[in-house]
């Protein structure tokens, strides 16, 4: 099977080559347009459009009386645009909210489409229409001219977006600002929706009306994890969409067909969607900045740092009465979590001696810094925020680990202004004892 897939993806078979190229072009174009639709929060309109296309296909068949790809596209496009306009009008003129209007269109038009397609298939010549293939997609039924048409549509759509990249960017980010600058926002919105319609309709033969929206939405959503730049996101989305189209189509052609003769091979739509969803899951987990794994690592690092700093502060405060911060201490004299201690040992903040442990030079400096930040914050809370001294410790406890240097500088400036900024490490404004124990060592 893998040989076959490889043969397919390297385009050695003339027949599947067209199908594959068509699906790839479709994936790229849908993802590119979908990026803007998602950012403009119009993704579900695409879903309504694709569902509304089904009755359009049926009506086109009833009018032409034969299976004609271009006529199908025209019929689907007319109904799709009609559905989008219907949603806009319902939203503008009634109190029905947009999501309800979209649900209404999806249900109503799709129901109509199913009824129409069944009545067509009950006719003697109905089977030739192949309308069932449009529900979940059947890329294999594409012929070379269909694929060429899809390719041309995709190229046109991408060219449109490339030319109007700047206009779409400002429209999606800040529509009011765009209007104030004189951009025809309504027209641009309509154009964007038209492009969504065109892509959706072109994708019906391969992906089907039910799942077409996933090709608009999933690749951009996946791409967003990897980048903070719109241009990169659009290109990446295009690449993901193209890959999903190619792999999904390839899989549907090479997977061994299921036993039941009724299903007539694998529908392409679900396979393309599954590939896209897999790309999304990988992005969600593995993306370097916005991904879940990176987030976990960040949190874990912060937790370890907090634990280390709490240990330093506890040691510092315990040694403070003696004034000798280089003194040796043990687990018994200053209770602490051994995990935090291991981490501090590794970081070189604490040294092991024969009788116990000792703050290293860097450890002493770090401890002084942490305690200073903690106490400055406490002083600030007491003097500025009028918080009772016996409560400040708990409030200051977490803050000192995350205070950015700028805030600390502002804090110092504020205290200096009032003549309350002590040199070096200030004395604790409260008795050191029980309250510190409460939260201090929770890692």
């Amino acid at each position: 099977m893998f040989d076959e897939l490889l043969r397919l993806l390297t385009l050695q078979d003339a027949n599947t080559r067209t199908v594959l190229l068509g699906a790839t072009a479709l994936g790229i174009a849908s993802a590119v347009v979908g990026s803007f639709a998602v950012l403009r929060r119009r993704a579900l309109v695409g879903d309504a459009v694709s569902h509304a296309a089904l009755p359009g296909l049926c009506l086109a068949y009833l009018v032409i009386g034969d299976r004609n790809f271009a006529a199908f596209l025209a019929g689907a496009l007319v109904m799709g645009v009609g559905a989008a306009a219907f949603i806009a009008l319902v939203k503008a003129w009634t109190r029905v909210k947009e999501d309800a209007a979209i649900a209404l269109v999806i249900g109503g038009f799709f129901g109509l489409g199913i009824v129409l397609s069944r009545s067509i298939q009950n006719e003697p010549s109905g089977n030739r229409a192949g309308l069932d293939g449009f529900i979940f997609g059947k890329a294999a039924s594409m012929v070379a001219s269909d694929a060429a048409l899809i390719g041309a549509i995709g190229a046109g759509v991408i060219a449109c977006v490339a030319l109007l990249f700047k206009e779409f960017r400002v429209l999606c980010f800040d529509r009011d600002f765009a209007s104030s600058q004189g951009w025809p926002s309504l027209l641009l919105d309509l154009l964007l929706m038209t492009l969504v319609c065109v892509c959706t309709v072109a994708g019906l033969p391969a992906v089907g009306v039910v799942l077409m929206v996933s090709l608009l939405v999933i690749p951009p959503a996946a791409a967003r994890f990897w980048t903070n730049r719109l241009g990169t996101m659009v290109c990446l989305a295009g690449a993901f969409g193209g890959a999903a189209g190619a792999l999904g189509t390839g899989l549907s052609a090479t997977l061994p067909a299921p036993a039941s003769a009724l299903t007539r091979g694998w529908p392409t739509g679900p396979l393309i969607t599954l590939v896209a969803a897999a790309i999304f899951v990988i992005s969600l987990l593995a993306a370097p900045k916005r991904g879940v794994a990176a987030d976990l690592v960040r949190r874990w690092t912060l937790r370890r740092r907090v634990a280390r700093q709490n240990l330093l502060r506890r040691v510092y405060e315990a040694l403070e009465p003696r004034g000798d911060f280089a003194a040796v201490w043990t687990q018994e004299s200053i209770p602490h979590s051994s995990r935090a201690l291991r981490s501090a040992l590794r970081a070189g903040l604490v040294e092991r001696t024969e009788t116990g442990f000792r703050l290293s030079a860097t450890g002493r400096a770090a401890a002084a810094r942490v305690v200073r930040a903690h106490r400055l914050w406490e002083i600030y809370l007491i003097t500025q925020a009028q918080i009772a001294p016996d409560h400040v410790d708990r409030d200051a406890d977490q803050i000192e680990h995350v205070l950015p240097p700028e805030t600390l500088a502002t804090l110092e400036a504020k205290l200096a202004e009032e003549g309350r900024l002590p040199a070096g490490v200030p004395r604790s404004p409260h008795r050191i004892g029980a309250p510190v124990e409460a939260g201090a060592l929770r890692p």
Partner: protein
Amino acid sequence: MSVAVEVHDVTVAYHRKPVLWDIDTSLPERRLIAIVGPNGAGKSTLLKAILGLVPLASGEITVLGRTISQARRLIGYVPQRESVDWDFPVDALDVVLMGRYGKLGWIRRPGRSDRAAAMKCLEQVGMSDFSHRQISQLSGGQQQRVFLARALAQDAQLYFMDEPFAGVDAATETAIVEVLRALQRDGRTVVAVHHDLQSVPEYFDHVVLLNMRLVAAGPVSSTFTSANLQKTYGGRLTLLEEAAEAIGRGGSARR
């Protein structure tokens, strides 16, 4: 003294419910102008009406002596900060560059000179170190300054700002005030929705007091009086509100 904005008998309604009644005032050029009033007074709506972002139920507005669509190149706009999605995939410089889009026209992309101009605007608001920061990683005050820099990049004669001081830190407030004064020195006009009554006399020299209808408008020294403020904030015109509700429900005549 020439006129920046002429508002003549303007009424604005959302879903048929009037939010501004018969506003009639003219805003002078080369002034820092504050629009002041309680929540729901229609301050932002007045700004949007002048900008042509909401349709007028009646009346007319001229900007710098022409219709708003003819004056587009001469105006700059700072929308409310909450009106956009700050997780949008652009950095600070990208946002400021949007200010240049109007002059670029269709299809043309911003070039090197546009980038240089945008950087200058970022510098003017003290944000040049953050030009490549993704906008969601900026603090509220920094985001507001980026918005201001975008307006500066529009190089306009007349600026409209919707609550530029809302929820900003002290440093940002100082930076914004400095920019406003520099704009005025250059002979430009700023119209800002403002919510902090205390700073009105300090920052602005002309004030429009608004509460669904125009209460008073004029130089701060003569108009920003406690009597006028009392009229703006104190006595709520419940009758006006009830009428607006009724029209909104379609109970009354008018359309």
